[in-house]
Every structure is written in structure tokens, then in C-alpha cells.
Symmetry: C2
Subunit: 154 residues, 2 copies
DNA sequence: CTCCTAAATGATAATGGTTTTCATTTTCAA
DNA sequence: TTGAAAATGAAAACCATTATCATTTAGGAG
């Protein structure tokens, strides 16, 4: 997705939105990380550059970006949503390992071709069978990471 | 999982929990539905049979059942968790289609064998590669259901 | 069966992420 | 440059979930 500010500006326009400084900075923060940031994480980063920012604007911008399909929203079950810029590169498609103890998230794309093949087939079959328009899918493996496996008593 | 009250009672004991009437009723409600109930949904159902019930008990029991791996908790992104009794029958293993507009959830198990095969392999590879103990995985397809597809303007 | 203690319960209050409200500021096309 | 629509941010509201705590209950010991 990272085609620079020019491209983003046009895209915002196309969706009937205006490009503003807060939005630019939020996009910038998202593009500079590989982590899965929460709204507050993003707020803290944006605040360093633009202290006038309000948490509300973060939420509103993330909603817009999600609707524009520039950002994925994930619910990993820790009570807050996490956001990730969608890459335009197919090679960066990935899914997640989520640690139930510490919340650590690992991206993986092993066997992604096999997965893609199966999921393409599934999407086709399911969308026809249930007359369902599928926009995207989420896959997550939940468990205990390296550290928590040895630390946790459970 | 539905091996009757006798079996559940023993299982509770084994985990150091006591079997109580609220817990029995909650299990009963869960076993009588194929839907993906929220805590409040469950509260409403239990209330019909046992009006003394408190919402706190629903949450606590669901936590216990989740830890005992008798129940799956899902976050489909609508701001509330949903719960589903885990079946002991392999044939009832399934994943979900979630409507982003109305929240309708459809279970599917097409190509579940192929999926299982791929996921078993993935779990093996990923758990070794990242030294990660995988407990379970979630797969969800998000989009618009039959009705919402024709209704929604977006 | 009766007691006793730890566990469970439920009413209430608190928490915390997210959304709404609304007066003010900003964008951008004319 | 200007004006109308869109965006912003501070504050309050919302609402699912969790913590607190006094009371009740389950179920093993005797």
C-alpha cells in the first residue's frame, strides 16, 4: 500500500475524504512499524510529532482507513483492537501466532501459497453456497510463546 | 462434549471446581443451541429458568469453561465476545462466515479435511520454528451475507 | 446426617476501550 | 479569497467486562 502521500491523498479524495495533517501522520506512523498497534499505541506515537492530536481522531481515522481497506483491524481477544497497514505486496500477506499469556504476536507466511490456494477455493465455494460476499479472512493460531511456555504455571 | 451432567460434574471436580446449579444451567443453555451466544444472550436464557442468576456468574462460568477447554470464545469484532460449546465429535469441527453488516454468523465445514491437513502441518512447522505451544486456531471469513449484500449501499 | 470451610454467588461499583456530542477549526473547490 | 462541508479535540457518555465484598452454598470430614 505504501505509495507515498501523493497516492494516499488521491485515494482519500476518491472516497470523499479530505487529507489532513493528523491523517498523514497516522498513516506515517502505521507505515513505519511492523507491529500490531492499538489505538492508544498509535496515539502515543502521533503525539510525539503532533501533540495537538486527540484520541478521537485516531479512532475516526482508523475507521476510515479500515473502510477504505487500507488497514486491517484485528481482535486478538485482549480487549482492544489492533491495526495494521495492508501491504500491496502479495509476498507480505501473512497470518498470526498470538500468545495467550503476554499478547506477543508473530507474523508468519510459511506455506502461504498452499494456504492461498485452499482459501481461494474455499472463498469461491462458500460465497456461492451461502450467497455471501467475502471481503477478507483472518487466521490465527493461539497458544503460548517461547518465554511464556517456560514461565507460566498453567 | 455433551456427555451429560454426570460427566461434567466429574470434570469440574477434576479441575478443582464445584458443580452448582447456575453452572449446570449455563451448560444446559449452551448445549441446547447452535448459535454463538454473547454473555448477555446466555444471561437472558438462564434467567428464564433461574431468575436469581447474576451476570457476573455468567462471565465467571464462561471463563472457567474456556479454561477447561469446554467452550470456545470468539471475538468477531462487534465489541462483545461470543461463546460456543466445543463438540467432542470431530465431524462438527467448523469455521465461520461473519457478516460485517448484521453480524450473522454461518458455520461451515466444507473442505474441512483439506483444511485440517494443512493446519496440522502448519501447527507442526510453526510450533517448532517459533517454539510456540499452539492450543487452537481460529479461521473466519468476513463480508456481507445474502440479505445485507442486496440491502447495503456500500 | 450434620458441620465446617473453602468456593461460589450476586448486587454494586469500578474499569477501560470506544463512541457520541458539540463548539471550533480546517480543507479545498469555486 | 471565501464559504460550506468536513474534520478536529475536549469532555461526557456508553457499554462490555472485571473487581469488591458480604452472604450463601457445595460437598468432604466426622
Amino acid at each position: 500500500m505504501g505509495r507515498g502521500p501523493r497516492w494516499c491523498h488521491a485515494r482519500f479524495r476518491n472516497f470523499g475524504y479530505k487529507m489532513t495533517q493528523p491523517r498523514e501522520i497516522i498513516l506515517d506512523v502505521l507505515s513505519r512499524t511492523k507491529k500490531h498497534l492499538s489505538a492508544e499505541d498509535i496515539y502515543i506515537e502521533v503525539y510525539k510529532i503532533y501533540p495537538g492530536i486527540g484520541l478521537t481522531t485516531i479512532y475516526r481515522t482508523l475507521d476510515i482507513l479500515t473502510n477504505m481497506e487500507m488497514v486491517s483491524r484485528y481482535d486478538f481477544g485482549d480487549g482492544r483492537s489492533r491495526y495494521e497497514l495492508i501491504s500491496d505486496k502479495k509476498s507480505e500477506h501473512h497470518h498470526h501466532l498470538i500468545c495467550l499469556n503476554c499478547g506477543k504476536i508473530i507474523d508468519y507466511n510459511d506455506y502461504i501459497d498452499e494456504e492461498t490456494k485452499l482459501f481461494d477455493k474455499l472463498e469461491k465455494v462458500l460465497s456461492e453456497k451461502h450467497n455471501f460476499k467475502i471481503n477478507y479472512h483472518h487466521v490465527g493460531f493461539y497458544g503460548l510463546c517461547d518465554k511464556c511456555k517456560s514461565t507460566t504455571s498453567s
